[in-house]
Amino acid sequence: MPAIAETLDTVQQITGSTYKYGFETDIEMEFAPRGLNEAIVRLISEKKGEPEWLLAWRLKSFAAWQKMEEPNWARVKHPPIDYNDLYYYAAPKRPAPKSLADVDPDLLAMYEKLGIPLNERASLAGVAVDAVFDSVSVATTFRESLSKVGVIFCSISEAVREHPELVRKYLGSVVPAGDNYFTALNSAVFSDGSFVFIPRGVRCPMELSTYFRINARNTGQFERTLIIAEEGASVSYLEGCTAPMRDENQLHAAVVELVALDEAKIKYSTVQNWYPGDAQGRGGIYNFVTKRGACRGANSKISWTQVETGSAITWKYPSCILQGEGSVGEFYSVAVTNNHQQADTGTKMIHLGANTSSTIIAKGISAGQSNNTYRGLVRIMPNARNARNFTQCDSLLIGDRCGAHTVPYIECRNPTGKVEHEATTSKIADDQLFYCRSRGLSEEDSVGLIVNGFCKDVLKELPMEFAVEAQKLLAVSLEGSVG
């Protein structure tokens, strides 16, 4: 992605900061009134022209949310969030574009600046993009070429209109609305996100990706993503996220649901680079996300790969429900925290079916005064004969004011189950740094090299196009952490 490097150098000069995506775009916006109540839920549904069943689902979720309490078991601290002080819907005023040619040029320019050209000719070879700006999807590329093989890739709002039977069948089927506080909130007010459907036997011919951008002030982003791979289908999907630099915190509470039927494979990669706040811990995104995949079919496979460098707070546990016999779940994670960032992230592998297996490789890197927690559950249920799990959690500490914590939960209810857990904690050693520097590498390049080496097992799981970006991102996130 050479375009990223160039454009973002410019942005960095403008913002004078190491967070390269911190600019704000001046677009005429339409907001729902500030605050959260039933009328807002109805308004969002109405804006999107939704059918009655979906409005009913939203209202039920909202009612459930009102009775729930924010979870407090994670190792994160933040002042109370005033849910009535946010905007729950913000969209560009120009009417929704019918094709790429109709997209607001200012928006196209902004995505160019982020290194995500939406012009199909200029875009990355073999990657289709859905661009979500605050509450709405503004463009989806390569839809036509995808539809030729039967792949549906569009915004979820559009899917509700065009493919209501699919949405109705699968929405909330993996993550029930009332699963937790944030899923209930999301189910009530979700505005947009991506929808992917890969029909039976089709291997999706391109990488699919969604680029989430929070732009408007005091606005929460509640996206909803649903990916379905039918029997024998396969798809690789990647999401990226950025937001402007602001002193106040912003809320992002997303829900992602994946469904894999017999022999289907879904690879879901995330490069999360929401604004992390400044060096003093002011501002940044609160990232409270529920991601879950259901391996419903025999020999299906769901693989999560995440590189989490952004957000003031990350609360996120991409999980797999391994129901189909012989199904496979994978979780590869790199979580970097610097300055005052807090991350409590990990996974859940729920083994229901026989001969299911899961692999968890989690790498946590803490610098500054940050706290980085791995929290993972491996549960082998009574019917899961010969289930296997392998977990490896490695923590790397940079400096002496940060923290790394590992909280594994292991429950094995079948005597044939086999669960392995390995964990290490290390520091970047002075002799490693000196070794690199004596060979000509600067201190920051040395840290970058050592950190990338530490994360290699995870980075190699990313699609090629993004692995290089992710490596650079790691180095940037840790700038100034040594010395």
Partner: protein, 247 residues
């Protein structure tokens, strides 16, 4: 030319180097021998810029450029290379990637064009062949799971590819069997030429049978107490270091 004048240095409050004078002209190989605790490793660390060593007096220049004022990476760009006594492991960092990144950092600092992966690999494979090392050295992670001998060979490979003006070999012979010792020595001898000089630090004379130095210096108690030709090494081997500290 490496020129060290009256160099003193300490760790914490302990004086280790007490006024070293040493000149290594371009193209020459000098050996430094001496008993344990004489300050041999300290000298190599002070010259390459390791943290924790405080220079309390004197100067060290390479071709007239003040080394002591520079960060370790700047010294590398100026042409200093330290072959470590205990090479460090870098898990997950591929050897080829490591050496190429280092070489390009040095080239960049000198304002010279960098090498792309293909050009680098070509050069690296040629060196590996010349040094009679297995090609998988490049694919493995830096020093991870290497035997003691392989680690030292990897230092020589890095040296051959980074092409320093002065290489400091800090007890590179320690822990090597005779075959590995020959490979290391051949590597150094192959670089001999008008643009390369080396400071070979060793406890034993046997390495100097293979890398024949132009001069031998004896370091004892933080000072150079004797200098002479290659025959001095044999003398030391026969009579030991006893009595030198008073000289």
């Amino acid at each position: 030319m490496l020129e060290i004048k009256n160099l003193s240095a300490r760790i914490d409050d302990k004086e280790i180097l007490r006024g070293i004078d040493l000149v290594v002209p371009q193209g020459e190989i000098h050996a430094i021998m001496g008993p344990n605790g004489a300050g041999k490793s300290t000298l190599s660390y002070v010259l390459s810029g390791r943290d924790g060593y405080e220079v309390t007096g004197g100067t060290a220049t390479l071709n007239g450029v003040d080394l002591l004022a520079m960060a370790p990476e700047e010294r590398a760009a100026a042409g200093v290379f330290l072959a470590f006594q205990y090479p460090v492991e870098l898990p997950g960092v591929g050897n080829a990637n490591f050496i190429r990144t280092a070489l390009n950092a040095i080239l960049r600092a000198r304002g010279e064009p960098e090498l792309d992966a293909v050009a680098f690999l070509k050069r690296a494979r040629a060196e590996i062949k010349r040094l009679a090392m297995p090609e998988d050295m490049l694919k493995r992670n830096v020093n991870v799971g290497f035997s003691g001998g392989e680690k030292k060979r990897n230092e020589v490979l890095q040296m051959a590819l980074l092409r320093p003006r002065i290489a400091i070999l800090d007890e590179t012979d320690s822990g090597l069997d005779i075959d590995a010792l020959k490979i290391v020595a051949d590597g150094v001898n192959a670089l001999r030429g008008p643009d390369f000089s080396a400071l070979v630090i060793t406890h034993y004379q046997r390495l100097l049978d293979h890398i024949v130095p132009d001069y031998v210096h004896v370091l004892a108690n933080g000072r150079i107490v004797r200098s002479g030709g290659p025959e001095l090494a044999h003398e030391l081997e026969a009579h030991g270091y006893a009595g030198l500290e008073a000289a």
